[in-house]
């Protein structure tokens, strides 16, 4: 645990709408993404995928493919050793998923089976979903690679498939994994607090059920990577990912080689949203194709492969039971979740546990919580992490039910939420302590005010409705990997006085690198324009777990502050020699070091740097390291609860309010206005922070209204953007962003996370507004015209 030196600094760059430091590369097309990389001798890799939901592989004959001129390598599951079988949660030394952390004599013991590797990079024995990887080729060009795939002969023995969770749970259901006799990939269950007691004290108990759909991240850049081996057995992989270090950690385990022999370079990422934060089969396949062909191989998925075989959001069926006092005070909440896991585990258990810990156990602080989540294998493509990480599904259920309860009890939905709102210092049933920056009450008040809630309620317009929904989310999440929630960077003042930040932090387009530069500018007293960020490479002198859990500004920013604080000491020490003044009399601003007592006595940082590198007469440089770990906590194995403050140090809150109009003839929902009030702590860059909220609204509205991968009988029907509708420019309603800036005591300049949070409340706010408009409730997402119309009738 590290402490950030709290010092008073002038905010020159922080809080300003500064242009993103990589914006010029992006508007000129210079920014190089995976598909733009072309190495000498580079081959094209392609994957043969299963056409069956479930089938035994009897034989794979690659002879004809190998004989095709231009083919350099063909590999099948038999060419990749069994020990290459992997899973996100497998690596016990690098990662502690909830049950492992609980371990021992825990109240959560038996919460889920020990993590098991369930995915082989290329199927061995059988295939488990349409799109499962079977074989792969590397060839001189794409046409040859595609032709080679068509020459691979696979003999299948089709097996009965189980594609729906109800079927999968039946006693004699076909088994997705032969060794898992009930198709139950994981079962998380437990209680926090005196649940039965809290229920007894309740005057009302309500139970309601909800469901959500498959939603795809639909990044504009599809997944892909380029692999190259050198003659000493070092592997370089170029891939646009969220988590270079931890993907390398996983890959090193699978390939059984030291981490340092793998270099992962990830400069520009063409969208991620959770989909690029774990090791993927295609990465292992590409590495093996490159090894077999002794040439660099580029393996970029097509849009169709992207939709059929990568990521996506887990569909949930959620039943919420809530016990309340007559006054509306929430006493107890029970959440039962059924997760359609598809064929492989990926991050299924972690996502469900997040849905339990955050919206279920934390929002409106029920005094006791009971949970039961069944994560069920089916013969479908496996979902994994997607912006919000289980929170959107569970929040849709909980926030929909809040309005249903308000209506049943005749409560005002605004006052009902204000009564139960989390407040600074509150401790939840499982031990999460709400930070001093908690501003849920203010978020509700400002969202309600901005949408004109009470005026509009007094003058209702036919077919129009208002709805709101709240959110709790994390800033970083301890326990995702080992016992750390940290980041590091190296700072270098160059010999011309400019500054380079070597950062572990990834930038997925969010503006994280710009934010680091802004934090550095004001922490160090240098000009923003003189700071460069070098990142996205595991060979840099920096470490970071990755860009997930809305953590980059907080953890990366604090690492920069620490490095800058050390750098200032070094600068003042050298400047004091140059100015013949005590270091304690010195300060720095706009890259000029000056005397506090006699401000006209000064020296530029450039001069200090020149002196350091060339004139000091002794070995000296201006390089410092910043290491930060949040003072967050792991679950306590004896109690099954967290010690304060829990896995995040800076929980964030929001309230969204929506106004919709429903066409009673067609059932079509038009969003008139969306207001998003967020407690984000100090806003480092309003432009990029707004961009996060506006962009998250697009995903949230898609989840609410349209997006659905339409996986029928295990077959993903959407293949491209003609089938899968994401909102286009004319479809977006106005999004009013409100920042409730209540500085967090631990955040860099008071900042907290934002990226995921903004997606979560959109769908429940829209659902509540639709219910208000049509005076009836649709309990399943998306709110298609068909469902709305059927509910109206």
């Amino acid at each position: 645990m590290s402490q950030v030196a709290v010092e008073k600094v002038t905010e020159v760059a922080v809080g300003k709408r500064l242009p993103k430091i990589d914006a010029r590369a992006k508007v000129t097309g210079e920014a190089e993404y995976g598909l733009d990389i072309h190495l000498p001798g580079q081959l094209v890799g392609k994957i043969l995928r299963s056409p069956f939901q479930h089938a035994r592989i009897l034989k794979v004959n690659t002879a004809k493919a190998r004989a095709l001129p231009g083919v350099r390598a063909v590999i099948t599951g038999e060419d990749i050793p069994v020990r290459y079988t992997f899973n996100f949660a497998e690596f016990e030394d690098g990662r502690t998923t909830p049950p492992e952390a609980a371990g021992g004599e825990s109240a959560l013991r038996g919460l889920m089976p020990p993590p098991r590797a369930d995915k082989h990079p290329l199927a061995r024995g059988k295939v488990r979903f349409v799109g499962d990887e079977i074989a792969a080729v590397a060839a001189v060009d794409e046409d040859t690679a595609i032709r080679a795939l068509s020459l691979i002969e696979v003999e299948y023995d089709p097996l009965p498939a189980v594609t729906e969770i109800d079927e999968a749970l039946k006693p004699k259901a076909p088994l997705v994994h032969d060794e898992i006799k009930d198709n139950l990939a994981a079962h998380l269950h437990g209680t926090w607090g005196d649940f039965d007691g809290a229920l007894k004290e309740s005057d009302h108990v309500f139970e309601d059920s909800f469901s959500t759909q498959h939603q795809h991240q639909a990044c504009m850049e599809t997944h892909g990577c380029i692999c190259k081996w050198d003659s000493e057995g070092n592997l370089t992989m170029w891939a646009g990912v969220q988590t270079p270090h931890t993907i390398r950690l996983e890959l090193s385990k699978v390939l059984d080689m030291p981490e340092s022999k793998i270099r992962l370079i990830s400069k520009y990422v063409g969208g991620a949203f959770g989909s690029k934060n774990e090791l993927e089969p295609f990465m292992i396949i590409c590495s093996q194709l490159a090894r077999a062909s002794r040439a660099p191989v580029s393996l970029i998925l097509s849009r169709e492969e992207e939709f059929m075989a990568t990521g996506c959001r887990h569909p949930y069926r959620v039943t919420v039971r809530t016990g309340l006092k007559k006054t509306g005070e929430i006493m107890a909440r029970e959440v039962k979740i059924l997760v359609d896991k598809g064929a492989y585990m990926c991050q299924g258990a972690a996502v469900a546990f997040f849905a339990i810990c955050y919206p279920s156990a934390s929002l409106y602080k029920p005094k006791a919580v009971r949970f039961d989540a069944k994560i069920i294998y089916t013969n479908k493509q496996p979902p994994s992490a997607y912006r919000g990480f289980g929170n959107p599904q569970a929040s849709f259920a909980i926030e929909s039910q809040m309005d249903m309860i308000a209506e049943r009890l005749g409560l005002d939905p605004v006052k009902f939420r204000l009564l139960n709102a989390n407040r600074p210092g509150d401790i939840t049933a499982h031990g999460f302590k709400m930070p001093q920056s908690t501003a849920l009450t203010e978020c509700i008040e400002r969202a309600v005010d901005a949408i004109g809630w009470y005026e509009k309620k007094q003058h209702p317009i036919p077919n129009r409705g208002l709805g709101l929904a709240c959110l709790i989310h994390s800033t970083g999440e301890r326990g995702a990997y080992g016992n750390i929630e940290g980041s590091s960077c190296t700072l270098k003042v160059n010999d011309d006085g400019s500054v380079t930040i070597f950062a572990g932090t990834q930038d997925l387009g969010t503006g994280a690198w710009t934010v680091l530069a802004q934090i550095c500018a004001d922490s160090l007293g240098v000009k923003f324009e003189e700071i460069r960020v070098v990142a996205g490479d595991t060979d840099l002198p920096a470490f970071d777990l990755g860009a997930y859990a809305s953590r980059s500004t907080f953890t990366g920013g604090n690492a920069v502050r620490i490095a800058a604080s050390k750098m200032k000491e070094d600068i003042f020490s050298l400047a004091s020699e140059l100015l013949h003044l005590p270091a304690s009399d010195l300060d720095i601003s706009s890259s000029v070091v000056y005397s506090k007592s006699r401000p006209e006595t000064k020296v530029t940082l450039r001069e200090v740097a020149k002196y350091a590198y060339y004139g000091a007469g002794k070995p000296k440089n201006l390089i410092t390291v910043g290491v930060y770990d949040t003072p967050s906590t792991l679950i306590d194995p004896r109690t099954g609860m967290w010690k304060e403050p829990g896995p995040s140090i800076a929980y964030t809150f929001a309230c969204h309010a929506a106004e919709v109009e429903v066409n009673p003839e067609t059932g079509r929902v038009k969003v008139i206005n969306l207001v998003a009030a967020h407690d984000v702590g100090k806003v480092i860059n309003p432009t990029t922070a707004e961009g996060q909220i506006e962009g998250a609204a697009l995903h949230g509205l898609g989840l609410a209204l349209w997006e659905d991968m339409r996986i029928e009988k295990g077959v993903t029907l959407v293949k491209d953007f003609r089938d899968y509708f994401i909102l286009r420019a004319p479809d977006m309603p106005p999004v009013k962003v409100i920042f409730v800036e209540k500085n967090d005591p631990n955040g860099p300049f008071g900042a907290k996370g934002i990226a995921e949070a903004a997606l979560v409340p959109v769908a429940p706010a829209i659902a509540n507004a639709v219910a208000d408009a049509i005076k009836a409730r649709v309990t399943s997402l998306p709110l298609t015209p068909e469902k709305v119309l059927n509910t109206l009738k």
Binding site: K20, R24, E221, G271, A272, R303, T688, E690, A729, P730
Partner: protein, 155 residues
């Protein structure tokens, strides 16, 4: 392989292309990598370029069709070192997040500011409907195009 004689970003160029190849893939192979591949069916707009004063999806056109025509890609906008006004506005407004769709949006935006000079925000949004962005929610892209128009169009 056949020869396709086009003017690309102001320079007469001979592209080698198979008769069945699309313009996007041929442009990319010749180093115009701002022309992005987001799909293959004209579904995302990431490959938008301007051909003879029309903004087109280069993935949906055969390379041979470009014979005798004039093509502008994003690389052509920053010729001579200084960037175009619309590029400046994309930077200023924060219109690029991950940046992958940005080349397509700038090319479409350039077409809009040159050919629909007095377009309203609604019309600009409609004109941008063929380009997808998953990061921004479009607000800042629309702002950037509107600002370019208000400051007198391109350059």
């Amino acid at each position: 392989m056949m020869d396709v004689e086009s003017t690309i970003n102001g320079f007469k160029t001979i592209l080698k292309a198979e008769p069945y190849e699309n313009l996007r893939d041929v442009l990319r192979r010749n180093g115009f990598t701002s022309v992005k591949k987001g799909c293959d069916v004209g579904g995302c707009g990431a490959c938008t370029v301007i051909v003879d004063d029309k903004a087109v999806y280069s993935c949906c056109l055969l390379a041979g069709w470009a014979d005798g025509r004039s093509i502008t890609t994003l690389e052509g906008l920053a010729a001579g070192g200084s960037i175009d006004l619309i590029q400046k506005k994309f930077i200023e407004k924060g219109a690029a997040q991950c940046g992958f769709c940005t080349p397509g949006f700038i090319m479409m935006g350039k077409y809009i500011v040159e050919h629909k000079k007095n377009a309203s925000e609604t019309e600009v949004r409609k004109a941008l409907a063929g380009n997808l962005c998953r990061c921004t929610g479009y607000a800042k892209i629309v702002e950037a195009v509107m600002a370019t128009m208000q400051e007198g169009g391109s350059k």
